[in-house]
């Protein structure tokens, strides 16, 4: 009888221990993703240039407004140069900033391409003639995170009929 009591006591102790211990259940959530390096190119109004429509974005517009070779006025930030009797040139600086994330690249190359070949007017960025439409290198060693000024020059021949001029220039930055 003594042994049975001892056994019962031991079993009771185990039972009470079991009741007192916390009941737990678990689960696991695995989370995966693939981080891709990315580059951002932003057009910014230059302090000396015309106010860009869409400044601070990657799709901006340079509004030269309505201009004429002789007389008239140009928007603030736009310079008009009359080239004798043959043409006049509109110029304005604009800024480009290229930023980088999740990449070991230290510099970038910047190319620009005029969307539609223009055989009448001349489109220059800095000293680079874009008119033919092919990609043109602007820099091979751009520094990320810095604002770089560029100047757009549009030369209109005096022989051109009055009317609207519109084109697009695509910019491509590639981390090196």
């Amino acid at each position: 009888m003594k042994n049975r009591f001892l056994l019962a006591s031991v079993l009771s102790a185990f039972a009470l221990t079991g009741v007192a211990s916390a009941q737990t259940g678990s689960g696991t959530l695995g989370v995966t993703a693939t981080v891709a390096g990315s580059i951002s190119l932003t057009f910014i109004t230059d302090v000396a240039g015309v106010t860009l429509t869409g400044s601070g974005t990657s799709a901006a517009v340079v509004p030269f407004g309505t201009v004429s070779m002789s007389g008239g006025s140009v928007p603030a930030g736009v310079t008009k140069t009359v080239n004798g009797a043959s043409s006049f040139t509109l110029s304005t600086p604009f800024d480009v900033r290229v930023d980088l994330a999740n990449s070991a690249s230290t510099t970038y190359t910047l190319t620009a391409t005029l969307a539609t070949v223009d055989a009448t007017n001349s489109w220059f960025i800095g000293a680079v003639d874009m008119s033919a439409g092919a990609p043109h290198a602007l820099t091979a060693a751009g520094t990320f995170g810095t604002v770089v000024p560029w100047t757009l020059h549009l030369t209109v021949p005096a022989s051109e009929a009055a009317g609207s001029i519109s084109n697009s220039i695509g910019f491509t930055a590639v981390g090196g």
Binding site: A8, G25, G27, L29
Partner: protein, 180 residues
Amino acid sequence: MTSQRTPLFRLGMLALLTNPGAFGQPAGAPRLFTAVIANPAAPTITILPAANGALLRNQGGSQASLDLGRVSYFGGTSAPGQSSQKHSQSFVTSTRFALRVDCPGNSAGSKVNVTMSRLDSADKHVMRIDGTPVRSTEQILVQSMPCGSQGEHRLDMEVLVSAPPGPISSNVAFLATLNR
């Protein structure tokens, strides 16, 4: 006299524990002692997709996986059920998932505390659930969650812009403890 009554009392208790009839059970019911002390089954956690969350794969039992796909600072995320937010030095990809807790064998009204902890030590990304960073030490996610219920949670994965490109992964452990 006292020294004799105590053993008798203990014997009486033992008889109660070993006599099924004493608890109104059928005399033939076996192992009443076991029935009295048996623990209810442990709580179970099920990880489920949220209504507006990313695609979540249940891998059986209480295991699930969530693939946030390709994410980037400037490109964000394009996967359905996810959103992305840029900060100056990092970006956060967010989605939602649901946790369900069941407590088989426990009375209605039972509740659990749910904790979370991170099982990996990657330092280039931060995991947050409902705004609380998930660390290697257990932290309370839900207190007094009713058994049989489920709730949605927001998962944020924050990646530094200085982190190298490539795959990242984390495992978050959830633990449900029955309240007593």
